[in-house]
């Protein structure tokens, strides 16, 4: 019925008893069957939102609708949700099978043991943990525990799956594999999933869309690539992207853009990309390291202090106005530390923000 807005959050607010305003008027919606990542630095409120969706916390304002119906007064167990915790929260005294069966054997709708077992086995098969059925969670690796947690979350056939940083307790390589697995699993089951993470790469790689939070406010609610190409504001531009974006302080006066060692004409910029008129004043010009490259004639003169190798690319590090900046070049570029080079920006790829962070260009 409400496939476009299967999960809908309206003007959600949360003020803790100590007065801390964790969530300030947040609204977003999730399409049925989508995997949406809630991204943000720690303390941005993303887990608070997930807990409110799960009914573990009460909002102090606003509404939450699942499939068109408000659930704020519904208890967790009746919200038809599955939840995967960061530490998995597996019951250590139960075997894997008992853990997965647990949701089916408690509460008002508890079912017969053999029936519960059959269903549990189906989901253990799906998550490939059948062979550990009789083991305790403590005997399993992090990745295996993760799968048990997912199987337990899915066994009640919930409509919505909530995952709170499910990969942060795993080592780097495993994380890459498991995130692929999670994506294909939830797509196979077809369940609407909200996935909380602080890792932008993780969010970009598995999310159908990403909602980026900071300070209890949505910064951008968009498709993954747009966080690179069209960041809403200075925070988004700086949060997303690895290596991080370069920021230069600039002054705009009479159609001229001046930095400490370069000058541009406002007319050199792509006029169609202006969000509003660039009035005179102080601004920040931001450019992603892959869009500021060595050239015969460039905007910025840089003294390369250090070179870092990342995979098939190299990061040239230099200082600009005393702040570290980076240029991302391929491996073959013949530049050594100590070289003085000119760097040219791709002007249709730079961003200009006000000192308050509002995007102008």
């Amino acid at each position: 019925m409400n496939d476009e807005k299967f999960v809908e959050v309206k003007n959600l607010q949360k003020v803790y008893d100590n007065g801390h305003e964790a969530i300030k008027n947040v609204s977003f919606s999730v399409k049925k069957g989508d995997l949406v990542c809630l991204l943000g630095p720690s303390g941005c409120g993303k887990t608070t939102i997930l807990n409110m969706l799960a009914g573990l916390l009460n909002p102090t304002g606003g509404d939450i609708l699942f499939d068109g119906k408000s659930v704020v007064n519904t208890e967790s167990k009746n919200r038809q949700i599955g939840y995967v915790f960061q530490n998995y929260a597996l019951y250590p005294h139960m075997t894997v099978l008992q853990n997965v069966m647990f949701p089916l054997t408690v509460g008002k709708q508890k079912m017969a043991k053999d029936k519960a077992k059959a269903i549990a086995e189906k989901y253990m098969d799906l998550t490939q943990i059948t062979e550990f059925a009789e083991q305790k969670p403590g005997q399993l690796s992090g990745g295996q525990q993760q799968r048990v947690a997912i199987a337990r979350a899915l066994v009640q056939q919930p409509k919505i799956l909530l995952m709170d940083e499910p990969l942060s307790n795993l080592d780097a390589r495993l994380r890459l594999n498991i995130r692929e697995e999670i994506r294909s699993l939830v797509k196979e089951v077809g369940i609407t999933t909200l996935f909380v993470t602080h890792d932008q790469e993780e969010a970009l790689s598995i999310g159908d869309k990403i909602i980026l939070f900071n300070g209890g406010v949505i910064q951008q609610d968009d498709l993954g690539q747009n966080f690179y190409l069209e960041p809403n504001n200075y925070f988004v531009a700086n949060f997303v992207g690895n290596p991080v974006i370069d920021n230069f302080n600039i002054k705009v006066k009479g159609g001229k853009i001046t930095a400490s060692d370069f000058e541009l004409n406002v007319s050199d910029l792509d006029q169609s990309r202006f969000k509003r008129e660039l009035t005179d004043g102080d601004y920040i010009l931001s450019v992603r390291p892959e869009n500021i490259l060595p050239a015969e004639e460039g905007h910025v003169s840089a003294h390369i202090e250090d070179i870092e190798l990342i995979g098939r690319e190299r990061i040239l590090k230099f200082s600009h106005d005393g702040v570290q900046a980076r240029s991302l070049v391929n491996l073959e570029t013949p530049i050594k530390p100590g070289d003085d080079v000119k760097l040219k920006m791709r002007l249709n790829r730079v961003f200009i923000f006000t000192p308050e962070g509002e995007r102008v260009y």
Binding site: L56, S76, Q86, N87, A89, Y91, V106, Q156
Partner: protein, 274 residues
């Protein structure tokens, strides 16, 4: 090297002396309980009886209803332990896992009650029990001890060390609080509950002043009261007194030797936090 050896030797000697001082009364109690009256009063004292007088024990049982004392003590210690553990379990669960108004006040109240010395309230409690007409009854023996703020506090710290996400997971999985308590909290805290139970049972077994106040009928006495009464009655029959003391101490000592690790760990854990 030599210095270290000497140090270790001196350490062993000091420890051995104190270990003997600690154990000797127990050994002497058991051996003395098996002596004849003459052997207990000879100078120099007898250490090991010539013939073990097992008959002393039957004399004890014949002269005083020790079987009854055992039963009474066992019943009161068990009931106190089970009920107070149950109450502490529910209370500690609420304090750790539930959010409610007034929690801070309850916590402050319980903490301040921890400091109230039992001896300061035992006499007024006697008055209450007497007014309720419960002197010389099992109910009177156990009633004021069916809740232990101390054990509840102990369990709170135990439950607090369980990740709060476990409770949240159970809620989302559809478990009621009651199901959470019995299917998750209790099995996960078996060790702590068992230790608390043991400590509670031991202190129940050794209780003295309260049963002394609320019982005066021989048939309702607990072991320790029976023992003091017997010690006065048996007067000079030292070997019977010692045999009776052995009867009182031995069950707890056996329990102690079986579960010494849990008991010691439990005592260290709760008292450093108190």
């Amino acid at each position: 090297m030599k210095n270290i050896r000497w140090g270790t030797l001196v350490a062993y000697i000091i420890l051995a002396i104190f270990a003997i001082i600690t154990i000797f009364p127990f050994v002497y109690m058991i051996l003395g309980g098996l002596m004849t009256f003459q052997e207990t009063t000879t100078i120099p004292p007898t250490l090991i009886p010539k013939h073990f007088q097992w008959g002393n024990f039957s004399k004890v049982f014949a002269q005083a209803p020790f079987a009854r004392y055992f039963l009474n003590t066992f019943i009161t210690a068990s009931v106190t332990t089970i009920v107070s553990l149950f109450n502490a379990l529910l209370g500690a669960f609420a304090m750790v896992n539930l959010r409610f108004k007034g929690k801070g006040v309850v916590q402050a109240l319980l903490l301040s009650l921890l400091m109230v010395p039992g001896e300061a309230i035992i006499f007024t409690n006697y008055n209450t029990i007497a007014r309720l007409g419960l002197l010389n009854t099992y109910v009177g023996l156990v009633l004021p001890f069916l809740t232990s703020v101390f054990y509840m506090y102990y369990l709170q710290s135990y439950f607090g060390s369980i990740s709060p996400t476990i409770y949240k997971a159970a809620k989302i999985n559809g478990a009621s609080d009651w199901e959470y308590i019995w299917r998750i909290l209790v099995p996960m805290s078996k060790g702590g509950l068992f230790t608390v139970g043991l400590l509670s049972f031991i202190s129940g077994w050794n209780s003295f002043l309260w049963p002394l106040l609320v019982t005066n009928e021989d048939s309702m006495r607990l072991l320790n009261n029976g023992l003091t009464a017997f010690a006065s009655d048996a007067g000079s029959e030292t070997e019977l007194q010692l045999a009776a003391a052995t009867l009182t101490v031995l069950p707890i000592l056996i329990l102690y030797f079986i579960f010494r690790k849990q008991i010691i760990r439990g005592v260290v854990r709760n008292d450093l936090k108190g």
